[in-house]
């Protein structure tokens, strides 16, 4: 946490430096890649059933094509899971595993 803040403090000090555009040019695409990797990893852990894939695809489409609040999309996803997903003993265990791994730590 302190390293994160130290880097942020350094970034704030660099606001008017000529180095900032070069740093930003690398960091922004890298950030998008890190987000994409996180999505891929979470997807690999979650997509055991077709319904999960359908919920993710619908959430993606609605997020891109509408101005719906993302919080509502999350809630809708949860409710869809509750109503549509088959009742199997494995589901709760899978959900538990995914939720535990999704909120991990950095190295």
């Amino acid at each position: 946490m302190s390293l994160t803040l130290a880097a942020t403090f350094g970034y704030a000090r660099l606001q008017h430096s000529s180095m900032l555009p070069a740093i930003t040019a690398v960091l922004l695409p890298a950030a998008v890649a890190l987000v994409a990797t996180a999505a891929l990893k979470l997807g690999q852990e979650t997509f055991g059933q077709r319904v999960s894939i359908a919920i993710a695809a619908l959430s993606l489409a609605l997020g891109l094509l509408t101005q719906l609040n993302p919080a509502l999309l999350l809630l809708g996803g949860g409710l869809a899971g509750l109503l549509i997903l088959p009742v199997s003993p494995e589901t709760s265990v899978a959900a538990e595993t995914s939720s535990a791994s999704s909120s991990g730590s950095n190295p």
Binding site: G63, L75, T91, S92, N106
Partner: protein, 174 residues
């Protein structure tokens, strides 16, 4: 956006996403960048990247966002918003032990996580449209993505390689 609003956004999103950093970036981008224009996309993504490459919880980057918007008090307040729920729910753990085996709860969480995946991909598309405007940017994206997803390298290593790639492309282009 006031400090109180920022803290409440962080607290609510942290709760809703089960403290999943990348999903939170999607929600924070939508709220702070697109809706309120409280912080620009460059700074939000800088905070996220620094949060990913430094040790600590995956959602620690919100402290960086808090610092950028409100200084040290913002960093402390957003950190508290992230950390406090983990302690506040301790008395509820016993109750959760009873509930977690219920199939409905498992299905709800599975659906929630599936929707999270969709939302993160949605963020990737939206952010990609803005951040990947040049061949160099696409190359850096590709290298970082390959390093982290295919070669399973840690974020700091991937970022270092991406930096070298970016520098090499700039030299080559000039």
């Amino acid at each position: 956006v006031t400090l109180g609003e920022l803290v409440s956004y962080v607290a609510v999103y942290n709760f809703m996403t089960l403290s999943n950093g990348p999903v939170m970036i999607s929600l924070l981008e939508q709220t702070l960048v697109r809706k309120h224009h409280a912080i620009d996309l460059d700074r939000l993504l800088f905070a996220f990247t620094i949060g990913r490459v430094t040790p600590g919880p995956a959602s620690s980057y919100v402290a960086s966002i808090g610092f950028m918007m409100f200084g040290w008090i913002g960093a402390l307040a957003t950190t508290a918003a992230i950390v406090a729920p983990a302690y506040l729910v301790l008395p509820l753990v016993k109750g959760y032990e009873r509930v977690r085996r219920l199939r409905g709860v498992g299905n709800f969480i599975t659906g929630l996580i599936a929707a999270q995946v969709g939302l993160i991909f949605c963020s990737v598309v939206r952010l990609g449209r803005e951040a990947l405007g040049s061949f160099t940017a696409v190359s850096i994206f590709g290298v970082t993505f390959l390093m982290t997803s295919v070669f399973r390298q840690r974020a700091p290593v991937a970022l270092a390689v991406a930096g070298v790639t970016g520098a090499a492309f700039r030299l080559w282009q000039s």
